[in-house]
């Protein structure tokens, strides 16, 4: 593959050393880019994968090293400079320069922002022993170490991550309660029908569901968490608490940059924040031309696909990024695969399999178009219906 030498920048700086940052580098090299690449990461670890953190790493079936994305040899072969353990603290657009916490000044002709998201915390919980979030490898190891046999764990947050952690902790044999404001696990992500099936699964496996009443705070004694207080004033006793109430884009370091920040780095349909500055992965909120609106996705596939798109863009591809989103979650023996978008008000039909057998494909339709497909232990059958979503994306957008 040839590169437009005139357009290809001499130096690329990737801010963020996780899946999206790494994929940007790998794709640039794979497409023949020979310029200088620097990767800046806030964590001291070599790039690692996050989906296993709430599953295999927390369960202990994987040694943490197995979550590492690439061996040292493979990283070295990329001929990129990895600057790790040194967070970016400021971006200067005019000079395309980034300053780091330790005082480094890095300049480049193209900058890719891949700083991801940070876990939201409950106010006042930061210094309490026994309170965890799960975003980084260190978080996962701390949580695992904080869950000895007999622990009463309360998971705050009924989203994908909270539901996965509840399943993993229950598999470890702990006493697990799942709390959150919605009526069922992942109700926001998969809608009432499928979240009802998930509620049944968690209950059957012994998770205590205390859903529907929001959490207002934690109780503590002598600097250690003792419980979770619900809006009803009831307290759920806890030896350990995981707070999984979502994440916020890691854009604090861009506050004075002049880039548009609104629930992420706002980008055009090519993931460009402005000429020469791009955003990829969880932190990017870009204009999805198929949907006609800004979208920000926190999932593993988007981390890779956006990075591949931006690497192409840097080398002159000039193509809008219009993915069909995809995520999966594993809870006990249930493997859920979600393609596309599942709006909460969508009409949902089971098009294959059987809900009660917990093996089915559900199709989500909104305003007459297929927007998404969910497979429950039917991965291939769900994936084969992706084309229906693509057709929906390509149809002219309904006017409102």
């Amino acid at each position: 593959m040839s590169i437009d030498d005139v357009r290809a920048p001499a130096r690329v700086l990737v801010v963020g050393a996780s899946a999206s940052g790494l994929t940007t580098v790998e794709t640039l090299r794979r497409k023949g880019y020979e310029g200088r690449i620097t990767v800046l990461g806030d964590e001291p670890h070599a790039p690692y994968d996050r989906p296993p953190l709430s599953k295999q790493v927390l369960l202990g079936t994987w040694e943490p090293e197995r979550a590492t994305l690439r061996t040292q040899d493979v990283l070295s072969a990329l001929d990129a400079e990895f600057v790790l353990g040194d967070p970016a603290v400021a971006l200067d657009r005019a000079s395309r320069g980034v300053r780091t916490e330790s005082g480094r000044q890095l300049r480049a002709d193209a900058i890719v922002i891949a700083t991801g998201v940070g876990a939201r915390r409950l106010p006042g919980s930061e210094d309490l022993a026994g309170v965890h979030v799960l975003r980084t490898l260190d978080d996962a190891l701390a949580l695992r170490a904080g869950l000895p046999a007999g622990t009463r764990l309360v998971v705050v947050g009924e989203g994908v991550l909270g539901s996965e952690i509840a399943a993993t902790a229950r598999t470890l044999g702990l006493d697990v309660t799942l709390a959150g404001p919605l009526s069922a696990p992942m109700a926001l992500q998969v809608g009432p029908l499928v979240s009802g099936v998930l509620a049944g699964l968690h209950t059957e496996r012994g998770v205590e569901l205390r859903l529907g009443d929001g959490v207002v705070g934690l109780t503590a004694d002598d600097g250690r968490v003792t419980g979770v207080r619900l809006a009803t004033d009831e307290v759920l006793p806890a030896d350990a608490v995981v707070v999984a109430i979502g994440a916020t884009p890691a854009t604090e370091w861009l506050a004075d940059s002049g880039l548009e920040l609104d629930n992420g780095v706002v980008c055009d349909s090519h993931c460009r924040a402005e000429e020469g500055i791009y955003a990829v992965g969880d932190v990017a909120r870009w204009h999805h031309e198929g949907l006609g609106r800004l979208v920000r996705l926190e999932n593993r596939t988007n981390a890779t696909e956006a990075a591949m798109a931006v690497a192409g863009e840097i080398l002159g591809a000039d193509r809008p990024y219009t993915p069909v989103p995809y995520f999966w979650t594993d809870q006990y023996d249930a493997k859920l695969q979600v393609h596309g978008f599942l709006p909460p008000d969508a009409e949902v039909d089971v098009v294959e399999g059987d809900l009660t057998a917990r093996r089915f494909v559900a199709r989500y339709r909104s305003e007459g178009r297929v927007t998404g497909v969910l497979g429950w232990n039917m991965p291939k059958q769900a994936r084969m219906r992706r084309q229906e979503i693509v057709a929906g994306l390509d149809a002219p957008a309904p006017t409102h």
Partner: protein, 64 residues
């Protein structure tokens, strides 16, 4: 090019099939990757590299 898949790591996303359907398929019952051609021809090499790159579980390894 030789393709090696890791069924243990595979999460049944099927991204590889979308990228290179002559080389990858999925099992009907659990969606785990099925390797149709472990030595794909040169004209499929770029598709296969894409398939390895988009695999969210890093379950595809290429020996070039």
């Amino acid at each position: 090019m030789k393709v090696v898949v890791d069924e243990e790591k595979c999460v049944a996303a099927g991204q590889c099939v979308a990228a290179a359907m002559d080389v990858f398929d999925q099992r009907e019952d659990d969606g785990i990757v099925v390797l149709l051609d472990e030595n794909p021809p040169a004209e499929l090499a770029e598709d296969v590299r894409n398939a390895a790159a988009v695999c969210p579980a890093l379950a595809i390894r290429l020996v070039e």
